[in-house]
Symmetry: C2
Subunit: 342 residues, 2 copies
Amino acid sequence: MVAVGRPVLGLDIGGTKLAVGVVSADGTVSGFLAEPTRREEGHEVIVRRLFDLGRRSIETARAEGALGAREDVAAVGVSCGGPLDARAGVLTGPLHLPGWDYVPIVQLGTDEFGLPVALENDATAAAYGEYRFGAGRGTSTMVYLTLSTGVGGGAVINGQLHRGAAGNGGEYGQISVRPGGRPGFGNRAGTLEAYASGTAIAERATEAVAALGGTGRSSVLSALSKIRAEDVSAAARDGDELAREVWDETVDLLASAVTDLVDILEPDLVVLGGGVTRAGDLLLVPLRAAVLSAAMPPAAAAVRIELAQLGDLVGVVGAGAIAFDKLAEPSPPSTLTSAPAR
Amino acid sequence: MVAVGRPVLGLDIGGTKLAVGVVSADGTVSGFLAEPTRREEGHEVIVRRLFDLGRRSIETARAEGALGAREDVAAVGVSCGGPLDARAGVLTGPLHLPGWDYVPIVQLGTDEFGLPVALENDATAAAYGEYRFGAGRGTSTMVYLTLSTGVGGGAVINGQLHRGAAGNGGEYGQISVRPGGRPGFGNRAGTLEAYASGTAIAERATEAVAALGGTGRSSVLSALSKIRAEDVSAAARDGDELAREVWDETVDLLASAVTDLVDILEPDLVVLGGGVTRAGDLLLVPLRAAVLSAAMPPAAAAVRIELAQLGDLVGVVGAGAIAFDKLAEPSPPSTLTSAPAR
């Protein structure tokens, strides 16, 4: 029997950054460390550095008093972008890590640490982190949507992390918001991700600026050599008309997808995370108004829409939450009483 | 402790028909009886007739040998259209039953039968019926969509019936398929229900026929005084060009909503029921092709799309499945060992 009260180690494998930390039973992070992924080094070197970083994190957490002098973490959670096979514990070619076509990270971690190791899709782990330790505490059915380079998400349904038949939990970036619209990742055009990822917001603004020529209109964005999503939200906030149009369309299309999620799942809470949500109320206020007026009244009355709370720690906390979940799984039945030793 | 192996009584309150039956632990129905609802009689008279019909069903099932001579059913399940409050056990103004603004059907049923009584939204109950006893047997995450007068549905997620924060489980008819399109029930335009319900298919065909004048085109549907959805599918099957256009658009828009559901929930199985699905392969074959090519490959690889199996019995079987679920709930903890009698 493993005590679930002991801290766990969270390892987050990003395309640009490895982040690790010791996550306590209340979700606080000690010994947080991060370093560049340096993808060119290949998975053998990078996984070795990840594990070393994890060991240093445990020592740091011990120095910080989060672990007793002779106490070890109880389990390890690993969060990574997909595709991956969480049940088998294998990375099967994450899009952000070329060449990682078969990395049995759970076995490698078990060999390294001698502890239970769990693997989860990063957006799914982040959803679970927000549920256990962030904006979702105390809810029952929570949908998490992250608007970042891409759009992803995950859900906790009736208190259980939703993994789905394919093990990815859900691909909310693929929700149709404008049939026949912009192409995106995947087979569908006009998806949420094709409009509301940070990448897509920047592209749409760049195209809108390019289309200004000869119309007599102008935009502060024209002066930028490269437009980023945060430039669009900042200019929209300052009243720039073109930026406002791009932003309003973004909110409208995001509201369409969130309304679909609210009508389909009837969550208590929708949590929005990722870099695009740094726009804060500029995103949240009109989004709430649009979703609550479009969704079915009982579902609208039951749901709150809030920003994520874990910020840059979400990867590590999510990985930790997955490790706690692994510890809470029923142990395989002991064979001691049912079969004699041979 | 209640033996869950005993049969239960299923009561289905429809807008045009009351249907009842005794549902065995394997889902077979005995003593199936139905009679017109006759809404004009009001809820007091109708609920009385419903309970009497239930009692006759039990006697009939006993005569059929499905219940022993001295055996009673173990519980009662009631299925009805919403809005209703399943947890409180109260009908709160079902759209198809004007005037039923507060009918505490669970309390009335408990008083009548002296047994555990459960209430559920009809589409949710139908989903659970298909999961336990129909097309969904052996699956883990199953989405059920019914295309009938309206469009509704429900889901079983990781083996649990999904009820959601508002208790309706989900309103799949509200999924956006053509933003800014046809108005429908609810606050959104361009929903699945506004295109793919039987009512909407008939309306769209009627409008298409009206728009034929002067175009030189013709359709066999022009000869009908009133076009029904089944006329559209029959004419499409026979090669009528206008009917084919209406039908193909229906399948396209249904595929958009089903793709959203597949990408969001990653189910093992999508089950399609309701009158519109009597079109069979004319619906199923192109729908499968469209969904499997549009959904994310892992989700597409994990899902099957099948027709419902319970047909006209789905209301009664669904109500019975809900009653079985009620019996399987953990009993309130006994206080005998924790507190002495006073």
